[in-house]
């Protein structure tokens, strides 16, 4: 019975609290009266008897509290503490608001970044047993993860013993015939077992059959959920119907699940079996595939890598021409997908963590200041009988109240921050990271936030408790109350502020280095004028122009129309735009030189006659292409300076001849010109040798038009599609962008920009918090030393020496903070080396710069308290106490 009936009684008392108190009061009053009567009977005067009774009874409040503790729930006293805590915080809204806000900032930043970390790094790939999925590629000296060739893939698949399945995919584009004309759509060609390897089943219809990726199998297609909804109205009877893609009728066999994602190429809407029909897949030397495999149980990534390397080595011996230098790469699929953003996320999480540290230290020191000013309140409560536990619990309750408010606000900030950050990233970039779609306050993120809150709560509870533990409470009751506790606080507060300043400096240095990297990156010498350029991608489908001559005719027509557009000064075509990638490479061999089979890998670009003039790239020697370089004249190429430096050091390259690795007669071409280095690679990649072929001699059906405009290039963009469709409505057009937007939206720019901006934001907050923290410490110390300063001045100290006194104290703290911070900065910068571009971790100017910024801001913050100290009126300061 006992537990339950006790509970019910307690509950009854809880609800009849007022009655309970009243009864207890009455009972005790009765007791006192009786005692009084007894004393009077014993011969005391009534007055003396009353006091004696009261004395004997002791502390009535304490008795009541203890009686109440017996019957009350623990929670009830907690509620009391809570009410008191809220009252305390409300009485001091400045403190409450500041502390909550600081904490919210710290927690918000950490949680927001953690949500990204969670979405990108912690949440596994959305496939069953994701840890066993690996990305399989070839690797060469220049490309650690190179595309696979189809022939190699077949051998790898046949020979290996480490994968339960190995499949490949290749990006593809189709022209979809719609009522409004031809539209380019994204596709993915996959080997038949691909979905099985990922462990995914279509939500409607069936997967590809095993033989559907063989040459000659009838064409079938799987639809992504989105395209099924948008273009096929989500009708279930689409299975079995046909869809016309690039002139071929594909039978729809199924629809992929709604939440399915494939980060390497998530924009692909039409999935078709990969039939090795293209020219590339018939040659072992042509690399255009990416591999995904599932490891057999118990096989490690390293073991798989070792076996694939040995298989690749065997193929290299067997096919020395095509496979020379081709090894294998096996890495976890998650690494392949998020490897490029992992460093930035970890660095940002580190930055957010430091910010949180500063925020916590700041709030802790605020709590210390407050605890110090409440010394008397605590002492009085202690003297009135509050137990140490109860007093400590009061601090805990206040800390918890603060942390709860701060965390709630922090979560709000985090949510806003997440949305804001996703908004900042360009759509193209986001499309490549489908895993970020799940970004939000999911249970893992909330648990993380809860952990932070608990840690902060512990910290804020312990700080004031420790503070009072070390100082004698009775001191608080004496009026002066300036003894040991003051120095203790000063020492603790000072240590805390040194931590703050040092951490702020680390963040500032990080921000400085990242900012400098971004500046370097965006001011990288591109080798051409990127302003006033409009660009658009064009694809000439085979159905429209089956022969090279026809492809060429379209290009000429397009360039002619483009140049005639209003506001356009010149127009040119190029197959891969500058500032894209070191990719689409070619192996070259030079006529008249010994050849040992090495692969001389160079960027290979096809350009129209006017390209270099349009981009404004300078010719170093030789000549540009002319209209006379056509299909009937000998093949010619231009090379860049990097090419000349690498393959013709100290030689004149003009007039030299080169060809493919076999020097096939049709491949032989003569170098006729040398142009300045033009940035083909992504912004943060190194400059590679490049050769430029003439469009007139090797037409490409995929290319970009580049238009130099006299006015804002953005104004031309809307007119591009109509112009191109005016030439032929079946040409596919997309990606209308100005060159500057393309560069701004490139992955390198995005990564460096988000890193620099976010870290910069953290650093500014850290600087503000650190400086405010210092201000607090100095102002508090000046406040406590008012009398001392008054005495000094009364004894003849000059105002300047008072300034010196205060600023010296601040200066010492700042100096220690800066020295510690500089050491930390170099360490931190070493950790984020991967994100630095064109600047060293120990970049002296950045370090000196941020140290000066911090020192000046901190000195300015100490100036105000110093002035206050110097304006102390000695007479008043002495009279005050």
């Amino acid at each position: 019975m006992n537990a339950i009936s006790r509970f019910i009684k307690r509950l009854a008392i809880l609800f009849g609290r007022t009655r309970f108190r009243g009864e207890l009061d009455e009972e005790m009053a009765f007791h006192r009266e009786q005692a009084e009567r007894e004393f009077v009977a014993g011969g005391m005067t009534p007055e003396a008897a009353r006091y004696a009774a009261m004395r004997r009874f002791g502390n009535a409040v304490r008795v009541k509290e203890r009686s109440h503790e017996v019957v009350g729930f623990k929670a009830e006293t907690v509620a009391q503490d809570l009410r008191f805590a809220v009252r305390q915080l409300r009485r001091n809204p400045g403190f409450a608001l500041t502390a909550t806000l600081i904490l919210a900032l710290g927690i918000g930043a950490s949680v927001a970044i953690f949500a990204f970390v969670d979405a990108a790094l912690i949440k596994p790939l959305p496939y069953p047993d994701p840890a066993r999925l690996v990305a399989v590629n070839e690797s060469t000296e220049l490309f650690p993860r190179n595309d696979l060739s189809y022939a190699d893939y077949l051998d790898w698949k046949r020979v290996n013993t480490v994968f339960s399945s190995l499949d490949v995919y290749a990006a593809n584009r189709f022209e979809l015939n719609t009522p409004s004309g031809t539209e380019p759509v994204h596709g993915l060609r996959v080997s038949a077992g691909f979905l099985g390897t990922l462990g995914i089943h279509p939500m409607l219809g069936r997967d590809f059959r095993e033989d559907e990726d063989a040459v000659g199998a009838s064409p079938v297609v799987l639809l992504r959920y989105g395209v099924w909804q948008s273009r096929f109205g989500g009708r279930r009877d689409v299975v079995g119907q046909t869809v016309n893609l690039s002139g071929v009728a594909y039978t729809i066999v199924g629809v992929l699940p709604r939440d399915f994602e494939f980060a390497p190429r998530d924009i692909a809407e039409f999935w078709v079996p990969l039939q090795p029909t293209g020219g590339c897949e018939t040659r072992r030397s042509c690399h255009n595939l990416d591999g995904v495999a599932r490891l057999k149980g118990g096989v490690t990534v390293a073991a798989a890598m070792a076996e694939m390397k040995s298989i690749a080595a065997g193929l290299e011996r067997k096919y020395p021409d095509s496979n020379r230098g081709n090894s294998a790469s096996v890495i976890p699929l998650s690494d392949a997908i998020v490897g490029n953003i992992r460093p930035i996320l970890l660095v940002l999480q580190g930055g957010a963590g430091l910010l949180l540290l500063i925020a916590c230290v700041n709030v802790s020191s605020l709590m210390l200041v407050r605890a110090e000013s409440r010394r008397r309140e605590i002492a009085v409560r202690g003297a009135l009988g509050a137990s140490r536990v109860r007093l400590s619990r009061q601090f805990v309750t206040e800390a918890v109240t603060l942390v709860v408010a701060g965390s709630a606000m922090g979560l709000g900030l985090a949510y806003g921050g997440m949305k804001g950050l996703s908004g900042l990233m360009s759509k193209d970039w986001m499309d490549g990271m489908p895993f970020l779609r799940g970004l939000g306050l999911n249970p893992r993120v909330l648990i993380f936030a809860a952990c932070l809150a608990v840690l902060a709560g512990i910290l804020f509870s312990i700080t004031p408790i420790l503070h009072f533990r070390f100082s004698d409470m009775r001191d608080g009751l004496t009026e002066g109350g300036r003894g040991s506790a003051g120095t203790l606080w000063r020492r603790m507060g000072a240590n805390l502020v040194v931590i703050e300043l040092a951490t702020a400096l680390v963040l500032l240095a990080g921000a400085g280095l990242l900012g400098k990297s971004l500046y370097r990156l965006l001011h990288e010498d591109l080798g051409f004028r990127a302003d006033h350029l409009a660009t658009v991608n064009v694809h000439v489908p085979e159905s429209v122009a089956p022969k090279p001559a026809q492809v060429l005719a379209f290009e000429r027509a397009l360039l002619e129309r483009a140049s005639a557009m209003p506001g356009v000064e010149s127009a040119a075509a190029m197959d891969v735009l500058p500032v894209s990638c070191n990719c689409d490479t070619d192996w070259v061999r030079f006529v008249g030189r010994p050849y040992n089979g090495i692969h001389n890998e160079v960027n290979d670009r096809v350009v129209s006659v006017g390209l270099f003039r349009t981009l404004q790239v300078r010719l170093k020697s030789g000549r540009f292409f002319t209209e006379q370089d056509d299909a009937n004249s000998p093949k010619v190429v231009l090379i860049n300076e990097a090419f000349a430096r690498k393959y013709f050091p100290g030689e004149d390259p003009i007039g030299k001849k080169m060809g493919d690795t076999d020097l096939t007669p049709a491949s032989i071409r003569q170098i006729v010109g040398l142009v300045e280095d033009l940035k083909e690679a992504g912004l943060d990649q190194e400059q590679w040798p490049a050769e430029y072929e003439a469009f007139n001699q090797s037409p490409s059906s995929y290319y970009s038009l580049i238009l130099r405009t006299s006015q804002n290039p953005g104004a031309v963009l809307p007119a591009l599609a109509p112009m191109i469709h005016g030439v032929n409505p079946n040409l596919s057009v997309d990606w209308q962008r100005t060159m500057e937007d393309r560069i701004d939206d490139s992955e390198a720019a995005n990564i460096h920009r988000s890193a620099a901006y976010l870290f910069g934001g953290f650093a500014v907050l850290a600087l503000v918090l650190g400086v405010v923290g210092l201000y607090g410490v100095i102002a508090f110390s000046v406040g406590r030393r008012t009398r001392e300063i008054g005495v000094r001045m009364a004894l003849g100290a000059q105002r300047s020496s008072v300034y010196r006194l205060v600023l010296k104290e601040a200066g010492r703290l700042i100096a220690v903070g800066v020295v510690l911070g500089l050491a930390g900065s170099v360490g931190a910068a070493m950790l984020m080396r991967k994100l630095l571009f064109g600047v060293q971790a120990w970049d002296a100017w950045t370090l000196i710069g941020v140290a000066v910024v911090l020192a000046i801001s901190a000195l300015m913050a100490s100036y105000f308290p110093a002035r206050q100290a110097a304006s102390v009126d000695p007479a008043e300061a002495l009279r005050a106490e």
């Binding site: 019975m1 006992n2 009936s5 006790r6 009684k9 307690r10 009864e23 207890l24 009455e26 009972e27 005790m28 009765f30 007791h31 009266e33 009786q34 005692a35 004997r56 009874f57 002791g58 502390n59 304490r62 008795v63 009541k64 203890r66 009686s67 503790e69 017996v70 019957v71």
Partner: protein, 112 residues
């Protein structure tokens, strides 16, 4: 106060229950009774008495009701319940065991 011995810890509940075996008493009466029965040796501090009474109430060992005293004052009278009587028995036997044990230890110590 300091000259008087403190109550043995844990015995207050037992003493209260015992004073209530004869008749219901109010808080002051309990204190008075203990003092008198112990020939003024034991003083129950009011600071301990009322919390202890609340504890006994909560356990269901005593019952409280408001009644009039002889002097016509309203006071809360505590009555021993059946459960309280049983509890008193348990505590008394435990106490006697304890006292017996302590006594044996002391006697043996003298002999040794």
């Amino acid at each position: 106060m300091a000259k008087k011995p403190d109550l043995l810890p844990g015995t207050l509940d037992m003493l209260i229950l015992h004073t209530l075996t004869r008749a219901p008493l109010h808080g002051y009466g309990i204190a008075l009774q203990i003092k008198r029965l112990s020939d003024d040796v034991l003083t129950v501090e009011e600071g301990s008495l009322y919390p202890a009474l609340q504890r006994l109430l909560l356990q269901g060992w005593v019952r409280a009701e408001w009644k009039m005293t002889e002097t016509n004052r309203r006071a809360r009278f505590y009555t021993l319940t059946a459960a309280g009587r049983k509890q008193l028995g348990i505590e008394l036997s435990q106490f006697e065991q304890m006292i017996g044990a302590i006594g044996r230890v002391l006697r043996n110590a003298e002999e040794a």
